[in-house]
């Protein structure tokens, strides 16, 4: 497993998010999640403009092994989705923190970062899962 990018925040559901300069937030799933799911074959994306609620279902990722919900880490609305995933869902496996991003969200309010984990905290969370 490669090192966790330092500029991201993480959730207990294995999503990552990145604050962009324009105030939006990019969201994807972590390498741990992508590896656990196995090779992805399908991604169901939300509509642009759709409202999402923190911890609510936002997208679905389906692998050769399982289908799994992706939860919204914050409350807000969808401003962009990664349409490339329709043809290349495996980008989530190969570049989970880059080309494999899933959505961009515009947060409704100030983001409550107390619910999110720093890279160190998430790494510790993963280590504990392994034991």
């Amino acid at each position: 497993m490669t090192e966790l990018p330092g500029d991201l925040l993480y959730t207990k559901d294995h999503e990552w998010l990145r604050h962009e300069d324009d105030g939006t937030v990019t969201v994807g799933i972590t390498e741990h999640a992508a590896t656990a799911l196995g090779d992805l074959v399908y991604v169901e994306l939300p509509e642009v403009g759709q409202d999402v609620e923190s911890d609510g279902e936002m997208a679905v990722v389906e692998s050769v092994k399982a289908a799994s919900d992706v939860y919204a880490p914050i409350t807000g609305s969808v401003v962009a989705v990664n349409d490339d995933l329709a043809d290349d869902p495996e980008k989530i496996n190969s570049e989970p923190y880059g080309e494999g991003w899933i959505v961009k969200l515009a947060p409704d309010d100030e983001i409550d970062e107390s619910q999110l984990m720093s890279p160190d905290a998430y790494q510790q969370f993963l280590d504990e899962l392994d034991d």
């Binding site: 656990a36 196995g38 090779d39 399908y42 050769v64 092994k65 289908a67 392994d130």
Partner: protein, 487 residues
Amino acid sequence: MSELIFEKSRSGRRAFAQAPFEAAPPAIPQQFLRNDKPRLPEASELQVVRHFTRLSQKNFSIDTQFYPLGSCTMKYNPRACNALALLPEFAGRHPLGPVSHGQGFLTCMYELQEMLREVTGMKGVSLTPMAGAQGELAGVAMIKAYHQARGDHERNEIIVPDAAHGTNPATANMCGCIVKEIPTGPDGDIEIAALKAVLSPRTAGIMLTNPSTLGVFERHIKDVADMVHAAGGLLYYDGANLNAILGKVRPGDMDFDVIHMNLHKTFSTPHGGGGPGSGAVGVNKRLLPFMPIPVVGRSEVEGKTVYDWLTEEDLPQSIGRLSGFMGNAGVLLRAYVYMRMIGRAGMERIAEYATLNANYLMARLRDAGFELAYPGRRASHEFIVTLKHEAKSVSLTAMDMAKALLDRNYHAPTTYFPLLVPECLLIEPTETESKETLDGFVAAMIDIVRAAKEDGADYKEAPYKMPVRRLDDVKAARQLDLAYRPE
């Protein structure tokens, strides 16, 4: 891959030694007759014999290999069940023939309903659902119909544990319900606090498999039943793991309101090839009026016992007809013959040996150093081994183990299910395997790990000896193409 029979075809080649005598062409008007030959393979008798014999030899099946595919109950299906279900009096019966001509068949079906009622502890049984998934659909549809009939229109939430078969939430969704997932505790039982938190006046019911998909018996089942009933919901029993409790525990006694049974799986029809199946449903008193039709009824007419189909007129509140006649009659007949052969005492032996074999296999693998997902629990008829350590230390994943076992002539256990256990193998030996077979399987598992650790054996490309090698799962999921198109 071998040639298709179509690719062996040569125009004009025939196999006619066993063909019936030339019959007069049917009286079809000229304009409806085709001008060209239908696209069927043309081959000699020997070619056909060789082709299908070779195909059958490629089969990995219960007839040839140990098949511990967890959650699937791949046990031996006695040949007698098949032979008797194929008696010409059964097989040649026309479904539209008069009821008076089918009294033998209907007697078997009525008695099958009665035996299933007894073994599950339910009050009524309908044999009409044609597969497990349709039985599930019938079960949840009945729960919905019950609430609707009481004017309880708000109840549209179905609770499903996270270890459940994927069909459970899918069924609830198909019935227009909202799925509420609850977590499993570290010991494999449902988290009671989580259940309490989701129960509400919107609760329609809960779907449970007991023993669960984790291979353990849900110990708080009585509490779960009481809590769900107190909240106004009903309990649905997924019969996936019925083999483990036959003759020992009855879903009706655990206070379940409705149950589906995979007759093909528990009661002796070869399965795993996509059908035909049977998802008979059993109901308690509350749901009796809602059973899917037809059901076989019995009455006395002028001192004679007569069997008949019960229809909408007899069950006006029925959720409806799920199959044209009586589900898959052949599967039902096999189940009937099996139950009559096994008898009441035999039912108990099924559960005892299914459980004994699973616990023996589990203990041997544990002693050999494999990690169990629920080490503190006794296995039901199946159990889970996790290869998370082997995956990390020698890159031996559950999938690699599965493929390596194929090369050693064992069918792989179920892999990566249930989803909540990492790198898992779900192993179900069934009651029909000998101790020697189980020992052989343990030895193979041990040797696969040993070879990975000591010899650096690489299983990433396994299987090496099978007709097809490691398949491209992604391509198969995304670009599935099963159609043959000639050049």
